[in-house]
Amino acid sequence: MLRLEKRPSDSQTMAYWSPVLAIVLTLICGAILFMSLGHEPLGALYTFFIAPLSDTYGWTELGIKVAPLLLCAMGLTLCFKAKIWNIGAEGQFIMGGLGGGFMALQFLDAESSWVLVPILLAGMASGLLWAALAAYLKTHFRCNEILTTIMLNYIALNALLWAVHGPLKDPAGFNFPESATFADAALLPLISEGYRLNISLFFGLFAVVAIWTLMSRAWIGYQIHVLGEDASAARYAGFKEKALIWFALLTCGALAGLAGVSEVTGPIGQLIPQISPGYGYAAIIVVFLGRMHPIGIIFASMLLGLTYMGGEMVQMEMSLPKSLTGLFQGMLLFFLLACDLLIGYRILWSKSADPKAA
């Protein structure tokens, strides 16, 4: 008989092993799934998880997906640590892209890469302002930030649609909903010629280091910890709760905005109706899968990025449907949540052969 028993205190070991266990279970179920579809399971898993990274190009493409995930995830970590449930990284990402893209369109004849400075700043400022709306609503009217940030996501998306269908539409583009393509000087420098990977990966890694330092070394990081663990203790200690909320949300907004502007001045190179394949939402999974720990988040963002690329690969090589991407992401989350139970509980083999006696 299997029996669950509450642990006297949460297991630190399981907190780290739970994601690993979840990944292993996902792989096993994935193999069974491939087998039931009539494919050789190991070969299929190879195609899904390893083939996309079999050459330099694959790794650079993974980097392109990891950079925005890292930026959004690090901002969200700050919010989630303080138990501010900001679901709005997606909207802040889009506003960053829109604001930065607007600035880039003012420099269509630019020749010097210095124009990137105002462009990136505009992107960060736009994301920051978008997060500021949620912060203002939370601190002044006690509005639930889950609701406000989700709704602001939709407004941001519609603002982008309005812009590319209206004022920012390419005048020479036959009325199609796209902006003009940005000047070459307004595009982020590539890390290596011949690949699409650009310096936004460094922005992402810098964000990891910066937020990590902030959380582990800085006074404000400590305050955020306390606020998240016990809000009344934070108030008792005299921490300024409202100021901390503002700080966490604005930082997250600026980082997500930077991710957005890096996407439009990076692989896309113009404003289009769809600038995010849901990075802001995927980053939420990344944060939890990565245990809100910087190193964990790096691995989690790589894994999540890989599921997108693997999904494309099995379509091309094995004619399997696209829904596999969603299936793998879903299984990962499902098993993670299930395994997280083991942090607070342990499984016991009860010796009693007769369940009625128990």
Binding site: W162, F174, N175, G269, K322
Partner: protein, 356 residues
């Protein structure tokens, strides 16, 4: 150990497979929706199967579905090119710039982009004159409406969609000068829930016939459920509403894909801008529902024959815009360039175009 060997065997097999396939033409397709959408992507996938059937072992096709029109599209297109595809069809407008970017790197690969306006040495474009079918289905709608109100669920106000609305409305007005067309924009190509909501709104506003320029069959299903009529788009959607479905404008990409595949096979491929319609069999309409009276059927047949013979172009003057101002004079017609940049409504369309 055993698993490692299996793994190695697999990769070896995969490598061997691609060597053997070197002499037939590999064709890749990039789709914006799922192949089961019954609409746009479905029509392209049918054409892919048609090419496979016609050319047998001489071709080898593969596709990637539901590819978002953003930064990911470029990777998918590039991977198809890197895997040795000789001809790649990118079947949505948003793939235009990504296709051109990849084409710059893979100079030997031929690319065909649907609905775009930019070509290059190894990128051609193609499009269907679907507006010709729209006009014919508009005639049917005009004759069949009782409330003189027809609902149109539209995606985005780009020229292709505006052209369809205008051609449809022109057909409606020719058949019934009192009828009007109401348009609802859903800002999505494929969102069955939103499409259904829009369809219900139009029915509440008195429409008794619906049509759509989106990629699912949700509008047909809504009309069927409410006992109204509907006109499909992209493919024959009668399976989704046997009573509601009057007819549909259908695409038949087969002839274009076959011609392009053959051109690559015998090394005669050229970059060009194809715009085929009823004359070439690329645009057509689905069989009319049996409730459509014989005289209406006759009218549609006559007009279709006239288009086929090149005697009738849909926007032959006089054409007035919404405000009643004459935009095309008697005896004149709109040029292809004007059709490709359509940004005004003809008389009979209700509501303002979202200008943003």
């Amino acid at each position: 150990m055993k698993s490692l060997r299996t793994l190695l065997a697999c990769t070896a097999l995969a490598a061997a497979g691609s060597v053997n396939a070197a002499d037939d033409v590999k064709i890749g397709f990039v789709y914006v929706g799922p192949t089961g959408d019954a609409g746009w992507t479905y029509s392209h996938d049918e054409a892919r199967k048609y090419v496979e059937k016609e050319l047998g072992d001489k071709v080898n096709t593969s596709y990637v579905e539901s590819v978002a029109e953003g930064a990911d599209a470029e990777r998918v297109i590039r991977q198809l090119a890197a895997k040795g595809h000789d001809l790649i069809f990118t079947t949505s407008f948003g793939y235009m710039n990504p296709t051109l970017k990849v084409a710059k790197r893979f100079k030997k690969t031929k690319f065909e982009h649907a609905t775009g306006y930019k070509q290059s040495k190894n990128v051609g474009t193609y499009m269907a004159r679907a507006y010709q079918g729209r006009y014919l289905t508009g005639l049917v709608a005009g004759k069949m409406t009782k409330t003189n109100t027809i609902g149109y669920v539209a995606s985005f106000p780009i020229p292709e969609v505006i052209r369809g609305i205008n051609a449809f409305t022109k057909g409606v007005r020719e058949a019934n000068p009192k009828a009007n067309v109401k348009v609802v924009w859903v800002s999505s190509w494929y969102d069955p829930a939103k499409e259904r909501e829009a369809a219900e709104t139009l029915l509440l506003q008195g429409a008794d016939i619906l049509t759509q320029h989106t990629d699912s069959a949700a509008v047909i299903q809504t009309a069927e459920a409410k006992g109204k009529f509907a006109i499909g788009y992209h493919s024959d959607m009668s399976a989704f509403g046997a009573n509601a479905h009057l007819t549909a404008t259908v695409h038949n990409w087969g002839p274009i894909y076959l011609a392009k595949a053959k051109a690559v096979l015998n090394d005669s491929w050229q970059s060009e801008d194809l715009w085929y319609g009823i004359q070439e069999g690329v645009t057509d309409i689905a069989p009319l529902n049996k409730v459509v009276p014989a005289d209406v059927k006759q009218l549609v047949e006559t007009k279709k024959a006239a288009i086929k013979a090149g005697k009738l172009r849909v926007f032959d003057g006089p054409v007035k815009d919404q405000s009643g101002k004459q935009r095309v004079a008697e005896g004149a017609t709109l040029t292809d360039d004007q059709l490709k940049g359509f940004d005004w409504y003809v008389e009979g369309v209700e509501g303002k175009m979202p200008k943003g």
